[in-house]
């Protein structure tokens, strides 16, 4: 088995930063990423996107990713794109699939920078064709230069909805409306974090300018919406919702829901690292020390794959983990380490403080966390919220037992799109806290692999 002093998983802002800093001191780094080009989802395709797309449509923050991607591609890193990691164990053996072949490598130090996925947003009809996560629609724009063929409706809460609506406007496409499910109480709740947000105010100003652009374009914004329902026969035809005491109906072929993102923790769980429930983000996060080291020694988790803090902080976290690895391997001395880490910690504290405001204002609504009984929550096995509530009433203690009782979470996505809802439903029925209810265990392989590929695995170097 090939052995590397450092293996990084994920070529988003955190992974690229970690690998680049390690390569600065000539550490041999293997970076595995499942996409064809670096950048992660946030800077997806940035090195290949057309000029119009890059600088006119997607906006400045996306364009700035080019600098990091360029620096990353210039550094001496063993970069392996299109490589899907399907297993990791607690000894840091990493199995991945590339070109139809499985490989196994051993890592002395491992940095997991797997980024985030969208928080599931179950509402009746979200499984209809034509309903697609807003993040997915943005990926189609970034990496495939594709726009909805008819005017879509955006629904949910979070900065991405505003950003996507503005990007569509830049590309000459209007959205029919933004159905904002942010409960009105959130504005009041978040006010006390506003001073903190002013310490790193760039996201705030960015949000305001997006809002202005959307208002100027005359796009309707339905604030405090609830009771979403997508209807249609074999394809969505209409989105209806409550807003300001009225039922609204919008005829549309495309509904793009979104309610923030959550860390992708599959690999973190496989690596044996502990998780902490983060109430203010309503999601699990990887438990880490100051430098991103998890509960398993020499395994680090950086960026949004640890907890959601955005790209800017992901770069800092990636660098800090990279530096800590360098220090442990004695590639840098303590004074160099401290000199380089000090400004990073300072910047980190500032951004974290500002983040509280975003967390508070965009905390998902209770209704979407614990949807009505007829809402399908497990897309793979087609299990409704009502069925999970029934099982929870029987006294199932956690998501794993619910899975065994009713197949919820047993499909190919391994619970990626129902885990948080199932836990919230159990907590609701049994009047417990989600942090006690727990999370799904994961089992390798976490991505499909055939017996043929497994049989051909390259284990010896």
């Amino acid at each position: 088995m090939e052995r590397y002093p450092l293996v990084v998983i994920g070529a988003g802002p955190a992974g690229m930063a970690a690998a680049s800093v390690a390569a600065e001191y000539d550490l041999e780094v293997l970076l595995l990423d499942d996409q064809a080009s670096p950048g992660g989802q946030i800077y997806r395709n940035v090195s290949r996107a057309s000029a119009d797309l890059r600088s006119e449509i997607l906006g400045r923050e996306y364009y700035e990713g080019l600098t990091q991607v360029d620096e990353f591609l210039r550094s001496k890193i063993n970069y392996s794109p299109a490589s899907t990691v399907w297993d990791i164990d607690t000894e840091r053996h990493v199995c991945y699939l590339r070109n139809n072949r499985s490989y196994q490598v051993s890592a002395e130090h491992l940095i997991l920078a797997c980024g985030s996925q969208e928080r599931p947003m179950p509402f009746p009809g979200w499984d209809l064709p034509g309903v697609m996560m807003a993040g997915a629609a943005q990926i189609l724009l970034k990496s495939q230069a594709m726009l909805p063929a008819s005017e879509p409706v955006l629904a949910g809460s979070g900065p991405l909805l505003l950003l996507l609506a503005a990007q569509y406007l830049n590309a000459g496409l209007r959205v029919q409306g933004i159905v904002d499910t942010t409960p009105k109480s959130r504005y009041l709740e978040s006010i006390r974090y506003l001073p903190g947000a002013m310490t790193a105010p760039r996201p705030l100003f960015k949000g305001l300018s997006l809002l202005k652009q959307i208002r100027n374009a005359g796009i309707p914004l339905y604030r405090g919406a609830s009771n979403l329902l997508a209807s249609g026969d074999s394809q969505v035809r209409q989105l209806s919702f409550h807003c300001a005491g009225k039922r609204h109906r919008i005829d549309t072929q495309i509904v793009l829901p979104h309610q923030g993102v959550v860390p992708q923790l599959q690999l973190v769980k496989l690596a044996g690292c502990e998780l902490t429930y983060l109430h203010r983000q309503q999601s699990w996060s990887a438990t880490v020390d100051k430098y991103g080291e998890g509960s398993v020694e020499n395994t680090y988790i950086a960026g949004d794959g640890q907890q959601i803090n955005g790209a800017e902080l992901a770069v800092i976290a990636g660098k800090m983990s990279g530096l800590q690895v360098l220090r442990k391997l004695e590639k840098i001395d303590l004074s160099t380490f401290e000199r380089r880490v000090k400004p990073l910690i300072k910047a980190k504290n500032k951004i974290e403080k500002a983040r509280r405001f975003i967390d508070a204002i965009f905390r998902p609504s209770e209704e979407l966390n614990t949807p009505s009984d007829d809402t399908m929550i497990c897309r793979c096995e087609e299990i409704t919220a009502g069925a999970v509530r029934e099982i929870a009433k029987l006294g199932c203690q956690g998501p794993n037992q619910v899975k065994a009782f009713g197949r919820c979470g047993m499909g190919p996505c391994q619970g990626r799109f129902c885990e948080s809802t199932v836990a919230a439903l159990i907590a609701e029925v049994q009047d417990r806290c989600i942090s006690e209810v727990g999370y799904y265990r994961v089992r390798p392989p976490i991505k499909p692999i055939t017996l043929g590929q497994l049989g051909n695995a390259v284990i010896e170097s």
């Binding site: 697609m132 996560m133 993040g135 189609l140 096995e381 190919p412 799109f417 043929g452």
Partner: protein, 101 residues
């Protein structure tokens, strides 16, 4: 359901969607190619209801299709290639031992 931004520089290639030859840009993935023509790509195992690509980043597995005779392929993670045969998947996959997950 989706369309390419006008003026995007591209070369068209021929692929087969449910045995029908269609021309698609050569630089997109299978999921995107399907979305140019259709809003769904499979019918579910349990209830047989239609589903389309949902997350576009390999997390949701709702874009399972048959590619060149191999079933259960995530459409959003594979680039199109000339002559590629893509089939919508209806119900459970027929898997040979070679392909078993």
């Amino acid at each position: 359901m989706f369309k390419r931004i006008t003026g995007t520089e591209t070369t068209l290639i021929e692929i087969f969607l449910n045995d029908v030859p269609v021309m698609v840009p050569d630089d997109i993935n299978v999921g995107a190619a399907i979305l140019l023509r259709s809003s769904y790509c499979r019918k579910t195992v349990v209830s047989g209801s239609p589903r389309g690509p949902f997350c576009m980043m390999g997390a949701c597995f709702d874009c399972f299709v048959e590619i060149n005779g191999k079933m259960n392929q995530q459409a959003c993670l594979q680039q199109v290639e000339a002559g590629m045969r893509i089939g919508f998947q209806v119900g459970p996959a027929n898997l040979s031992a070679e392909e078993t997950c």
